[in-house]
């Protein structure tokens, strides 16, 4: 299945793009997605521990099972205010 991924803040610099699509076997988790992305974007791998993950507009943890059409956002710790 195809999962759309969006990057925010300096993750756009680490990956060189604002969004990407990753093809994953069905049943894949956020953790699987992060592994696939780490291969494709080595810059992202170094930041992996601090990556926050949202699916749609909700936070999800690494065990979340992805579904077709899910829009995943990856970003560093937030810093509003």
């Amino acid at each position: 299945m195809a999962v759309k991924v969006f990057f925010y803040s300096y993750f756009k610099d680490l990956t060189g793009c604002a969004e990407a699509t990753e093809n994953l076997p069905s049943g894949s988790t956020v953790s699987d997605l992060l592994q696939a992305l780490a291969t494709r974007f080595p810059g992202l791998a170094a930041a992996e521990k601090s990556v926050l993950v949202a699916v749609g507009v909700e936070y999800q943890d690494r065990s979340y099972v992805l579904k077709e059409q899910d829009e995943v956002s990856l970003f560093p710790p937030v810093q509003g205010g």
Binding site: F6, Y8, Y10, L52, F75, V78, Q79, G80, G81
Partner: protein, 139 residues
């Protein structure tokens, strides 16, 4: 509970916000917070902060916080404005107002909202460095 939320690039217009304040006669306390961009970020002088938001999620997360706030404290109104884009040093990036019957709950709710916002609302800042005088521009 009245909720007003705005995340946008416009300068925060405090006077306009004040003119739209509503305090019903059973409310005794208003607490406002303003966050200003400081002249240094991590010890280095800056000209501004450039804020980016994941707009749709930021709005959703703010509303989740408002939901929780409303359960914890008898707040009549919460209004919050977060400026995004370039905000110069000495300008406000955040304005929050909480109206409640008593001061303890107004202070607690306002402070909690700002603390939680900084934990969960997807907004980021990038320093706009101040060029050092006499230093030639890089290659």
């Amino acid at each position: 509970m009245r909720r007003v939320l705005h995340i946008g690039p416009e300068a925060i217009d405090e006077l306009a916000l004040l003119s739209r304040r509503r305090v019903s006669p059973d409310m005794g306390a208003v607490v406002c917070f303003l966050g200003f961009v400081r002249a240094a970020e991590d010890g280095a002088p800056i000209d501004a902060l450039d804020y980016e938001s994941f707009q749709r999620m930021a709005e959703h997360q703010f509303h989740l916080l408002f939901d929780k706030l409303e359960v914890q404290w008898p707040v009549a109104s919460v209004r919050l404005v977060h400026r995004i884009g370039v905000v110069k040093v000495n300008e406000p990036s955040l304005w929050v107002e909480v109206v409640a019957p008593h001061r303890a709950e107004a202070f607690a709710a306002c402070q909690w909202l700002v603390d939680e916002m900084k934990r969960v609302v997807p907004i980021w800042k990038k320093p706009v460095p101040r060029p050092r005088a006499g230093t030639p521009a890089g290659p």
